[in-house]
């Protein structure tokens, strides 16, 4: 984002707020980003809301007539370069209103690389003072209020709330969805313009008594002080989300962003500035988690949830160092003979207070806080080391997250681990989700190929449930397809699911890819899997997942688990 360095301000410009003075802030392309509410009366113009986004020349034309507005002195005045050595620029001009021929003293000054201010005064000398305090509260990129303005207005409102003058004070926190992608791919110039258009749309939904501020980045806050129930705030939020989601046209490009909103209302959700802003922020966080493009009011439960998450995050950050992770293994068994072919590793976290946690309880958090890759690497290393204690015929299977794939270091890391623990590559199976194949990223195929070159077997996990098409099986020579356990469960009562199972088995057979049926829990399911032609099975019916230390009994060759139960 372009951060314009504010110039030192001229000392004697006219302050807004009095009836006989007005201020117009406009950007480099001469478009109005702020107009004081005194301006319409002073210059006989339409209301200030409709001035926003207009070309400053058009406003001059309306106020002073075409003849004055098109005079070369005006265009020179407007185009005057903003940076010159020797301090701030302050250029005076005398004009006459078109409507009633009053004399107006206009002064132009620049407040930054990006913005210029025109002030207007109809002659009263009383109002000469610094406009610096006003500009300190403006966001130089968009011309709307900044964080300081919001904080000041919020403080004032909370005082008025305390004195009974206001019934409630409402804060909306808004965050753009997908803005970063636009900023990164279309350039900061486009990103900046988008933020200006967003501000224009936000401003168009607000009343004069409401305050809009850009808090930083793509985050905005709106302060509502006029009497307004929750219905008003939630209707406003819905309208804002609708408006922000509408298409933008910028420099010939069509683009879309979304908006998530969190709402907090004083006195209910906080009585101090910090408490209220924190509540609004938590509500926004909840909205973003709830699928984005929605608004939510703050609820005390959100604070509790955030507290639990912080605790879990704190614990998770220590877990690797404190060796609280462990691997459990479940057998992959030959469908016909019943002998063990390999073991699938799955991660467990032995939490000191909460006991043994399954990945579903912490993996998403680990991804959010950037621990997915270190944990994934630990799993790979640990599984390979464990496998060196098993009979040579038994493979170890490890699932790898898409984040690990994106890191591009996966193949060299696997190579390093195999050499360090002296495990032959063909005893390791790396399981990937079908989702990674959908990424338009040639690195995925490169990594998969590099893994195969190490002798590692590459397996497609959870097949039959997701979005992958059969054609993807042809694009890369997978060693095995792991059929998702949910398909097995569905086969119970559903002939179509059985047909899918059969089709996958036949497909695997034809392509020379082994098929593993997951979720086999009953002898009936085992029989079905055998008859449909899957080569390998896995599930509670064969073995449950057990810690590495309890595996020894499985390896006794005389008692394959399936024959014992058949």
């Amino acid at each position: 984002m372009a951060t314009a360095q504010p110039l030192p301000l001229p000392s004697t410009v006219i302050a807004p707020g009095r009836r006989n003075q007005g201020v117009l802030v406009f950007d480099r392309s001469h478009r109005v980003v702020h107009a004081s509410n005194t301006l319409p009366e002073l210059l006989q113009l339409p209301s200030e809301a409709s001035l926003l986004g207009e070309a400053v020349e058009e406003i001059f034309c309306l106020a002073f007539g075409e003849k004055q507005a098109t005079a070369s002195s005006i265009s020179q005045w407007l185009d005057r370069p903003v940076t010159q050595s020797g301090g701030p620029i302050e250029i005076p001009l005398v004009l006459q209103t078109a409507a009633d021929a009053r004399i107006i003293h206009a002064t132009l000054c620049s407040i930054s690389e990006q913005f210029r201010v025109a002030t207007f005064d109809d002659g009263s000398p009383a109002g000469v003072q610094s406009i610096a305090p006003t500009l300190a509260y403006r966001d130089p990129l968009t011309g709307v209020g900044n964080r300081s303005l919001l904080e000041r207005k919020l403080d004032e409102s909370l005082v008025r709330l305390g004195s009974g003058e206001l019934e409630s004070v409402t804060v909306l926190f808004l965050d753009l969805d997908r803005f970063k992608v636009i900023n990164d791919t279309l350039g900061h110039g486009t990103g900046d313009e988008l933020l200006r258009l967003v501000c224009g749309r936000l401003q168009s939904t607000l009343r004069d008594s409401d305050t809009l501020a850009r808090m930083g980045g793509d985050e905005f806050a709106i302060l509502l002080t006029a009497p307004s129930g929750r219905e008003v705030a939630s209707a406003l939020a819905a309208r804002i989300i609708d408006l922000i989601e509408r298409t933008y046209l910028i420099d010939g490009q069509v683009m879309n962003v979304g908006a998530s909103i969190g709402i907090a209302v004083a006195p209910r959700d906080g009585l101090t500035r910090d408490d209220l802003l924190k509540s609004a922020d938590l509500a926004l966080y909840f909205s973003k988690g709830a699928g984005r493009g929605v608004s939510h009011f703050f609820e005390p439960a959100m604070a509790e949830k955030a507290r639990l998450r912080r605790t879990l995050e704190f614990d998770l950050r220590k877990a690797l160092v404190l060796r609280q992770f462990e691997l459990h293994y479940q057998a992959q068994v030959e469908a016909e003979g019943g002998s063990i072919l390999g073991l699938i590793a799955s991660l467990r976290w032995r939490h000191p207070q909460r006991g043994l946690l399954l990945p579903v309880e912490f993996i998403e958090l680990a991804q959010e806080i950037g621990l997915a890759i270190p944990i994934g690497e630990w799993v790979l290393k640990r599984a390979c080391r464990d496998a060196t204690n098993w009979p040579d015929s038994i493979t170890v299977a490890v699932s790898v997250s898409s984040l690990q794939f994106e890191s591009e270091k996966l193949a060299s890391f696997v190579d390093h681990v195999l050499q360090a623990v002296e495990l032959p590559g063909n005893r390791l199976e790396i399981g990937v989700t079908e989702e990674i194949l959908l990424r338009k990223n040639s690195n995925v195929l490169k990594t998969l190929t590099a893994l195969k070159a190490l002798g590692v077997k590459v397996v497609m996990n959870s097949f039959g449930t997701g979005v992958a098409s059969l054609s993807q099986l042809v694009n890369f020579p997978f060693d095995k397809i792991n059929i998702d356990p949910s398909l097995m469960a569905a086969c119970q009562n559903d002939a179509k699911s059985r047909a899918v199972l059969r089709a996958i088995a036949v497909l695997g057979d034809t392509l020379g890819i082994a098929t593993l049926a997951g979720g086999v829990e009953t002898s009936e399911q085992l029989m079905r899997v055998r008859s449909e032609g899957c080569s390998t099975v896995q599930g509670f019916y064969c073995t449950k997942a057990v810690p590495a230390g309890e595996l020894a009994s499985l390896f006794v060759p005389s008692t394959p688990p399936l024959t014992a139960n058949d």
């Binding site: 224009g200 168009s204 309208r239 509408r246």
Partner: protein, 143 residues
């Protein structure tokens, strides 16, 4: 002129409530202000509406089109705005119209337009040529 013509076509859901008369009044106000502003900025185009949809084509200098479009986007009288196409270059489709009002001459034409817009809103991109073609043919029929 020198500058390439920039063209956009969008459709949206009509959110104007009330009787036909009120709708007609709103629309004629929209058309009036559009015509006044467009003429100054060398913008031409066509607007179709029925009780359910709007479809509008705008063509002219890029800066002017983008500014007009942004103003349209802020208008609460419609929603679910879908841009069907945007392109630079080529000839104007509505050179003589600062903003043509496309009024289907009969029930069949009106129904055809509604079907095309319904399709366009569910599959943007696929049927933009159809919507534009209908707009053009209906403008000509109105002559």
């Amino acid at each position: 002129m020198g500058e390439d013509i920039y063209k956009i076509l969008y459709c949206s859901k009509n959110l104007i409530e009330g009787e036909h008369a009120k709708q007609d009044a709103e629309i004629s106000q929209i058309l009036q202000s559009a015509r006044r502003n467009n003429r100054e900025q060398n913008v031409t185009g066509a607007l179709f509406f029925n009780s359910a949809y709007f479809a509008q084509a705008l063509e002219g200098p890029k800066g002017a089109i983008e500014k007009i479009f942004e103003r349209i986007q802020r208008d609460p009288r419609h929603g679910e705005v879908t841009v069907l196409s945007s392109e630079t270059g080529g000839e104007r489709d509505f050179p003589e119209w600062s903003m043509a009002h496309v009024a289907p001459p009969n029930e069949t034409a009106s129904a055809t337009m509604a079907v095309a817009l319904n399709g366009a809103l569910s599959h943007p991109g696929a049927s933009s040529a159809g919507v534009l073609g209908l707009l053009r043919s209906l403008v000509i029929q109105e002559d």
